[in-house]
Point group: C2
Chain length 349, copies 2
DNA sequence: GTGTATGATGCAAACGTTTTCATCACTGGG
DNA sequence: CCCAGTGATGAAAACGTTTGCATCATACAC
């Protein structure tokens, strides 16, 4: 029986051709081949062409692993996101991809499922893979993890939540201020009894910031803190829907609900529609994220537009610049806007 | 001025500690350290513990690049998808991620943006990175590309479209049959003048298969081929919407429209709603994909449920099995179901 | 006591590049 | 004619692991 490894290399595949054989055939040294590939300007035009001809002829593909070992860079960045199915993360991820791909970098993606432990082990794995840099989601994590990154001198950018520590550069927007924008909008419309549906604040600093903004707004309003107005749930349509169900079943239902993400907002909206409740006449709903779909709903969802795409783009740019220059970038706070559509209206009473 | 590279390694970061220093400190050879890490059962319990202690003490992280070079496997798989923002691809991607992560593999993701050329260059890049295997989307691509994969003996799995070539194993569902399911549903409801909104069939074999099923059904119906009933557009809500706009503006608008993906279906639905057109009373709409959101729309979207998650899961499993065993797996066709909801109803006349 | 497994370990040769330093051939100024 | 400068190239030492083979105890059957 043949060894699996041999088989996995494929039957038709002879041993992969190496730079050494290219060098031999082109009658130059491996150094010259390497230079022809990486720094063509350092090689005489004629030599370069000869080398390239041999390379073409053999379909030579450089071994990136050996290259990484020798040059001590992998041309790969790591990206850790909580989930990929919520399209708001897909959006920033796509931007990061584009940026990286355009600069010849590959992206190693890890999905943490909102679990700190899993995130830590993913980070360790990426560290082991020697990624040149890292893009992380949120700022809250074990200090030991940050130490590990620092100790390894690994450039990293935090996203989705601003960092106040210059040693931990971030590209993000202010979740607290953004959520306040939403609350102010509802308050301006005359709402006083406002519900909140958001993510789990213990595992998600974005959800926490939004909740805090909600609570601050309610306090400012002089409304007593009422736990029954608040629902922390997972990021699923159904969770938003059942939360809304509970809110509406209450003896004194809120006249407006702040959903701290569009997924849950859409779930909440569907609950209203299932009950035949008019939105925004009988209850107002505001979301957060402004997913592309939100304006194709009916009624169109009022929401807070977050710069997911731009954030991914800038984060990738800054990370690559850091890698190239060795200089850590400064943090950047991106603007956020209220997109007023058809699910918010004046309070009735 | 210091060299960037030096700086990028970080200030606090001394040179990374190596297996050699661990070995020295634990008074064993590097071979033993390597074995303690990779095949603990081949090392005496006592020795293993001593080695581990030293490793812990120094926060030693193995250099995966050197490991990959020496062992000739990277424990990384490549995944190429056309886009990540359409949540149907996010769904299969997430499943692949989970599977890979659970087996200690990392996933290098490439986004081709439905562009064959870009896909080819991404594949080459992944080849260079020496991924242990590849998961690709669709079956239609340059023969030279397949040859390259074969030549390098790289295991790969095709997804989203079944392959008939046993040398190119696939995990997919039958797009033609699935689209026929949708058409049959409309036809059963009495519709005869049926529109089609789908992706660009020249760059997307899934869209092509669905279009062919549409055309076959229309032919079966004896309806003359009418180009004006067919719209090939990009995967955006707005594209579905404007296509629907055109369709409805026609002198003889269709009584039903088959949207070959939910994104465009949702756009189409929004156009109907903007016009105050009753769905399904005045026009029926059927989607394809059955995105999670589709049942939270109002009216809820009738659609074809595709096993995106399962497909990703099975594809990853098969790929990893192939890598481990060296034996290419057989192809697998997954079932698809019609999910009948509220956007399809009997034809009026 | 001999011979043979068995288990734990070490030695050292890969793995396929990059990169430093040295060499060599020119060029042109003095 | 000499010398410094420049540009193209090569030799060889890394880079940090894995792994085949050899070695050396120790155990056990006979």
């Amino acid at each position: 029986m043949r060894r699996p490894a041999a088989r996995a290399q494929g039957d038709a595949a002879g041993r992969r051709i190496t730079i050494r054989e290219i060098a031999h055939e082109a009658k130059v040294s491996t150094a010259t081949v390497s230079r022809a590939l990486n720094t063509p300007e350092k090689v005489a035009e004629e030599t370069r062409r000869a080398v390239m001809a041999v390379i073409e002829r053999h379909h030579f593909v450089m071994d990136g692993v050996a290259m990484s070992l020798a040059s001590r860079r992998t041309r790969t960045i790591g990206l850790i996101i909580p989930t990929i199915t919520n399209s708001i993360y897909a959006s920033s991820t796509q931007a990061i991809q584009q940026c990286a791909q355009a600069s010849g970098y590959s992206v190693l993606v890890g999905v943490s499922e909102f679990d700190g432990g899993q995130e830590a082990s993913l980070i360790r794995r990426l560290l082991e893979r020697r990624v040149d840099g890292l893009i992380l989601t949120g700022t809250t994590r074990d200090a030991a993890l940050y130490e590990t990154l620092q100790r390894n001198g690994l450039p990293f950018i935090l996203t989705w939540q601003p960092s106040d520590d210059p040693a931990r550069p971030s590209v993000a927007f202010d979740n607290f201020a953004a959520a306040r924008l939403a609350m102010d909008h509802l308050i301006d419309l005359g709402h006083r009894r406002i519900g909140l549906i958001c993510g789990r604040s213990e595992a998600n600093d974005r959800a926490l910031a939004r909740r805090l903004a909600y609570e601050a707004a309610m306090r400012r309003l002089g409304v007593p803190q009422s736990e029954w107005l608040i629902y922390e749930r997972d990021f699923e349509f159904i969770e938003g829907r059942t939360a809304m169900h509970r809110l509406l079943d209450h003896r004194l239902p809120p006249s407006a609900v702040f959903c701290a993400n569009d997924i849950q907002a859409i779930g909440a909206l569907s609950e209203c529609q299932a009950r035949g409740l008019k939105v925004p006449d009988e209850v107002s709903l505001i979301g957060f994220d402004d997913l592309p779909i939100s304006q194709y709903l009916s009624p169109q969802l009022t929401s807070i537009r977050v710069p997911a795409n731009q954030m991914g783009h800038r984060a990738a740019e800054k990370l690559l610049a850091w890698i190239a220059s060795g200089e850590p970038p400064s943090s950047e706070v991106l603007p956020v806007t209220l997109v007023q559509r058809d699910t918010t209206g004046p309070a009735r009473n």
